[in-house]
Every structure is written in C-alpha cells, then in structure tokens.
Amino acid sequence: MHWINWTIVAVYILYVVVDGIRRSKDTDSLAGFFVANKSLSWWVVGLSVMATQLSAITMIGTPGQGATDGIRFIQFYFGLPIAMVILGVTLVPFLHGSGVYTAYEFLERRFDARTRSLTAFLFLLSRGMSAGTIIAAPGVVLSAIFGIPLVWAVALIGVPTVLYTMIGGVQAVAWADVKQMFLIVFALLAIVVVLVLQMPVSPDDALRIAGATGRLQAFDFSFDLNETYTFWGGIIGGTFLMLSYFGTDQSQVQRYLTARSVDDARSSLLMSAYWKIPLQLLVLLVGVGIFVYYQFVRPPLLYNPAHESAVVDTRGDAYASLQQRYEDVFTLRSDAALAVADAADEAIGSVAMEVFLEREAEIQGIRGEALAMAEEVTGESSRDVNYIVPRFALSELPIGLAGLFIAGVLAAAMSSISSELNSLATTSIIDFYRRWVKPEATDAHYLLVSKGATAFWGVFACVVATFAATLGSLIEVVNRFGSFFYGSILGVFILAMIPRTTGRGSFFGLIAGMSLVGFVNFRMPEVAFLWHNVIGAVAVVVVGLVLSATDRGGAPEEREAA
C-alpha cells in the first residue's frame, strides 16, 4: 500500500486514541464511566447504536456477499424497524427509567438473583467469544492482504480499541462511534462514486447486467423455514432477533442507557429504524457494483492472496492452465456484457444476454475449480468472498481513498469491539463483582476494577482472535450455542413486563426455552436460525406464564419467604 494510504490509517488510529483519552475527564464515577451520567443526545446514541451493529464483517463480508449472491440478504433486516418501535414503548422506558447499569440488573429487581446471574453469564459467554471473532475476521483479511503476521493485524485493531475504551469509558466509545460511522459511510460512498465514474457502461446498463445474473432479486416470498433469507423470515424471525439484540443484549442496551432522557433513547433507536435498511442496501449495492465492474476489468482468479500464492507454489502447472482458461473465457464474457449494454433492440438484447449468461456460468465453474484447489492445498475453507472488496479497494481506488477505506474497515471493527468490551466490563463488574464479591466499595475502587475488566476482556478477545484459525471449530460451537439463548433471553424480558409473573416462572422458562432451541438445532438442523429466536421466546413466555400461574395458586412467595 502507498505510504499516503498508510499515513491516513496511522492518523485515524492516533486520532481515535487521543480523542478517547480527551473524553476521559468526565468519567471519574461509575455512572460516568458506564452510562456517561445519562448525558448524551439522541443522535450521538443513535449513531453509536448503528456503529456498534455495523462491524468489519459488514464492511468486507457483506459487499462480498452482494457481489456473489446479490441483494437478497436485505430481507434479514425487514424486522428491524418494527422491533425498534416496539422497544421504544416497552423495554426502553423500563430500562432507562429504572436507573440500572445493565439489562440483567433489571431482572433481579423484577424477579430474582439467579435469573439475573444466568442471563448475565450467558451474555459474557457469547459476547466474550464474539468479541474475538469480530477482531479475527478483519484481522485475517488484513494479514493476508498486507502479508503481515495475524498477531500484528489483531494488535492493529485491538490495542487502540482497548486503550480508548479503558481510559474513556462509554463516553469515549460513543463519540468514537460517531466519527467512525461518518468515516464508514464516507468510505462506502467514495467507492460508489469511483464505480460510477470508472464503469465502462451506464448505471442503467450496469443494473441490467447485475439483474440478468439474479443479483437484484431482493425478495423471496416463500414461507420456507429452511431458508434463512426470505421475506417472512426477515419480518417475523428478524423482528424477534432484533428485539432480542437491541432489547436485551448489553452491548446495545448500554448505548441507550447513556441517553439524557427516555425520549432521546427512543429517538436513538428510531434512527436505526429509518436508516438501517438504506445503509445495508448501500453496502450490498457496492458489492453488486464491484461485480459488474469486474465484468470489464479482469479480477484475480482467487481473491485471497495467501491462498493464491499457496496454490501457485504447490500446484503451479494446474493453476496456470486454469488461469489461462479463465483469461480466455473472461475476454469472451466481457465482450458479451458489452453486447448486452449496446443491444439496439429487445431481440438482439435477449440473444446477447443468453450468450453472456453462458459465459458467466463458465467463469463460475472455473472459479469453483480454483476454490476447490485452494481448499485442498491449504486445508482451510476459502472464504474468498471476504477478500473481494479489500482487493478492489487497494487496486482500483485512487491513492488516499484506498487508505480511507482501510481506515473505514478498522473503524467498523473498532466501533463494534469497543462497545462489546465496554459492555463485557460493565456486566462483569455490576452483575458479578459488585453483586457477589464486593457489594460495598467506593466508586474509585469500582472504577479501577472496571478499567481492569475492560483490559482483561480486550486481551482475551485479542488472544481468541490470534488463535482464531486453531480455535475455529470451538468459536463456531460457541457462536451456535449463543443463538440457542438469544430468543430465550428475550422471552425472560417479555415475562418481566407481564404483571404477576414470578422468578421461578422466568428461570425455569428460560431453561425450557434454551432446551427447546437446542433440541430444534440438533434434531431439526434444517430450520433456519432466524426462527430459533421465535421458538425460544415463545417457549419461555408460555412455560413462564404456566409456572407463574401455578405459583400464584400455591402462593409461592409466602413459601419462599418462609
């Protein structure tokens, strides 16, 4: 990468850390460190909420998905606006008004300590591992692209993030999120402008070529529980997932607990309700645009440079002949794409389209062979899709913009990780340390251990990320396990808002919900994971209500008191 690009990346990292330290002056109390003394405006919180959700995987994986699979992933977000409105009138006023630091603390006030501790423990388990994954994903890509050891790439992302999160607390996290969000959107828009300017065909023709390959198919209206991305899966399963993520996951709840009023907290969530789908569409369309651009400019056969050199080293001859075939067919496909764009009438257009689709299928076949070869040689799954956008940015964007894009990827990674570290530290200290270990201590003491906890989780995430390749299957298991209880935890919070439900009902309801989702996951693996959230939440509510009703019948409160 050009030195100007590296300078931009270095200036960005330095700025984020210095700004974080500057924000530390108002964080000398626990309320300052964890909830910014409830002082932030709706737009700061709103951008922080969006930046937390948008990780580096969204910056590199999602456009890659757009390039290879089209925009149908957008359906995943259809439930988000509905979830935000529901949360605005239900959980948000409850949580913001109750003066808690964590969502789980609220559960003890409403139910009992065991429900609080179990949900908080589940959060620490899943988010602790996912913090490692969200550093690992961009870390692995940056390490392969720049040819640097993974540990350096992890340190490049992890060290500055831990520093500003530890020193500046939630205030530094929120304000850094604001700037990071602007940087991310700017980087994405810059790619769109470059694509439009450098594309050899008009935007209308580009969309026609993309549409011909099915990449503009946004909707699948089939009610198929086995398909992840369908309209109904997005609307129903997506609503439950988003209710759970924004309503019960401390990494998001803590964002709006910093809002200066309930109205500001509500408005901050509504920002996502209005802007998340357009933003996600922009990300996917960037990928679709890159796909069309690569019809006319020959991309590498394998996007992952590490895999490419491994294949060249071990299967040089076979790869060279594949490469030759690829170049030949590429030229033919490129001509066919131009013919589609230049077609004078519909009849000529449909013939040209047919030829183009044949060539495209041939290219996909050759690429499939190359990917299989790479997987065989390296013993790793290729995940080539994650390298499409970074390689495009480095080879096609002008000097300066490429650096800005890499800074954008780092910003997306940091904005998610900082919120996770911040919330992991908060839950560790508030729900465990202060609750069970040292209930009576000064703010200064809690502040010190909170900073220690932030550093601990930061180091833990970096270690998990560094060993991501070796821990691959373990991380996958933990992530899958995480999806077992997401909907179930939502069920507990729904019970919390229903009058006269009991602690016993919520605790055993939670266990029943997780068990049912576990059963569905293992016995009916064909059911798409979005539906797990619906199943878990409904099971917890039903079991919780039944147990609460029996408790009321036998006056368990009296029994427990006795």
């Binding site: 925009i71 606006p81 509905i82 009138v89 969309l207 549409g211 503009l216 509504l270």
Partner: protein, 43 residues
Amino acid sequence: MSQKSTPTRAEARARFRRTLIQVLLVQLVAIAALAALQLRYGL
C-alpha cells in the same frame, strides 16, 4: 415557570401509533423501491 407534564396513557398510545405508522410508511417506501428495482432489472 411551566412544568413539563407526564404524557397520559392515551397520549402515549397516540404517539406510539404515529411513530409506528411513520416507520412502517418509510419501510413500505424502501420495500417498494426494492420491488421496483427487482421488476425493472430482475429476471
């Protein structure tokens, strides 16, 4: 000095309805735009 009053249940319900309608309308526009894209350029 006037004091800001707490919204009544009816006011809160009306506000919820308004917000819900606004968000759903925006979502409808987004879905319509996606549908137009799919109809115009999709197979």
